[in-house]
């Protein structure tokens, strides 16, 4: 009698698994419609103090001090673009680690791990729905914010989107590594909150990094996200960039390949260790 395994993983089955995970997350997301409203309103609430604070620094609606660093006095477009990009960073960078923590708490991580699906695919699958919902909610947020505060992108939208792609793909690498850390530490909240705040802050989500104190600028320049924020703004708002735009895009493409390799290497190592220790089911 011929022996066969019950599972026969193939490209098609992996795709089906990805689709199933995304479909499940889509169902869960719309099960709580207030969450969707919150996704749209939260970023607007967070930038409102910046809007009025900017007014306190402006003369006749022009933030001239801000223009000295950034090359634009339209600080709200600058901040809103940073906020929209931050939404995506949160989704990819931290989303996978959070998803694992959710599965741990719900007690389904171990059983998911036993399925014949690549674990990296499980992680990627958990971001698909959130990427789609983030796109929808960010567009609505920008439309609302444009009406409330003004949002005036005047540059090349296609170049900006093409620049954001290697940044986001590279962030998947970060996300894999972070998911590994969550598997090991079994705690995500404080780590995510603190590190996302710091990474977004120092990479210039809300302000030009040139305005940082001189001793913090090297930290900022070491973060690839800094060049992502800077280049997307350079294309869309025609702001002064740290490096020529082509150089920043090249950095982002290199970052993408290095991080994908490094992140998945870290994840596989940690995952093997956790399996050996038998702590996968603990939380």
């Amino acid at each position: 009698m011929e022996t066969i395994t019950l599972s026969q993983p193939s490209f098609a089955t992996q795709l089906r698994a990805l689709f199933t995970i995304a479909k499940k997350d889509w169902k869960v997301f719309w099960r709580y419609p207030l969450n969707a409203v919150s996704h749209v309103l939260q970023p607007i609430i967070w930038v409102t103090p910046v809007y009025f604070m900017g007014k306190a620094f402006s003369t006749n609606g022009q933030a001239l001090g801000f223009a000295q660093y950034s090359g634009t006095s339209d600080y709200m477009s600058y901040v809103l673009l940073g906020t929209a990009l931050s939404n995506f960073i949160l989704t990819v960078f931290w989303g996978m680690g959070f998803a694992l923590k959710e599965d741990m708490d719900a007690g389904v991580l171990e059983s998911n791990w036993l399925t014949p699906v690549s674990r990296i695919h499980i992680l990627v699958g958990r971001t698909l729905t959130s990427l789609l919902t983030t796109t929808i909610t960010s567009i609505i947020m920008l439309v609302l914010a444009a009406a409330l505060f003004g949002f005036r992108p005047t540059g090349n939208i296609i170049a900006a989107v093409l620049t954001a792609i290697p940044m986001l793909v590279g962030l998947y690498g970060f996300g894999f590594a972070f998911a590994g850390i969550v598997l090991m530490m079994r705690e995500a909240n404080t780590m995510v909150d603190v590190s996302s705040f710091l990474v977004q802050g120092f990479s210039g989500a809300n302000f030009p990094v040139k305005s940082l104190p001189y001793w913090l600028i090297p930290v900022s320049l070491m973060l690839p996200l800094t060049y992502g924020f800077d280049a997307v703004r350079g294309w869309l708002l025609k702001t002064n960039t740290l490096l020529p735009l082509n150089a920043e895009v090249t950095i982002l493409v290199i970052f993408m390949f290095v991080m994908l390799w490094f992140g998945s290497w870290i994840f596989h190592r940690v995952e093997r260790k956790v399996r050996r220790l038998g702590t996968l089911g603990q939380h």
């Binding site: 709580y32 207030l34 969450n35 409203v37 919150s38 309103l41 939260q42 609430i45 967070w46 409102t48 103090p49 910046v50 009025f52 604070m53 900017g54 007014k55 306190a56 620094f57 402006s58 003369t59 933030a63 001239l64 001090g65 801000f66 223009a67 000295q68 660093y69 950034s70 600080y75 901040v79 705690e187 909240n189 404080t190 780590m191 909150d193 603190v194 705040f197 710091l198 802050g201 809300n206 302000f207 030009p208 305005s211 940082l212």
Partner: protein, 289 residues
Amino acid sequence: MEATLSPQSLGRPGFISDLRAFWAIVRREWTIFKRYPSWIIALFIWPLIFPMMYILTARALSGIDGSGLAVFTKTTGASNFIGYIVVGTTVWMWQNIVLWDVGFALRNEQMRGTLESNWLSPTWRFSYLLGHTGPQLITMTMFILITALEFGLFFGVRFNGSPWLALLVMLVSVPAIYGLGFAFASIVITAKEAHTFVFLVRGLVMIFCGITFPVSLLPGWMQTIATWMPQTYMIHGMRAAAFANASFADLWPDLRALLLFGVFWLTLGYLLFRWMERRARRTGAIGQY
């Protein structure tokens, strides 16, 4: 010989037993707090990094030559924008933490499945909420002290007024801040899934109370809403006491408003708790989640 037993309830509630119950809850909450060291780390890091993001944005708005800062000083009357922002963001963080800690105190018990059994014990039920408030006040005091220390050390923020009057403003704010937390706890236990309510309340504070800007910059209708929120007076009073060398007489309008809000929110918090308690007993909803 036959022993006679007079019928009596096993629990004999009294002031002392209520006090003991309150103290037991305080000790339990303190033990849980200490059990997760990541919160202690957050106690040192959050006071620094949350205001820092607004401070760094303000630094960028100031400009290389400080022209933006000159406009800010003229608009707000404050020469130190760091201290100005730290006061506003600290008040926001205080209210936010109270909403999560005190506001979710009963809900967390409900989720753990211990609320119903606690409810059956012969204690004054409001002590469950008060018990949560004790360690919360201690950690918040530490939080505010650490904030003052960190910004004094790393950013050179100095009091230009009376620290005692700033402390008085904070003390007078306690009833309003925690009264809101009590009211919230009762609503949360009734509405169950209530994260959105926290986002709403803290969002209102963020938008209307001038955490990083003077309320006078808001449009008229927004200023009207701001006058109905205690956090507006708290932020205004603390800034005036700490940095503008305000006297007690200068602060009195803020203090009076805070006292009135305190009476209102504590009363409402207690009444909502009593309503929730009766409703829960009638509908049996206390054990559901």
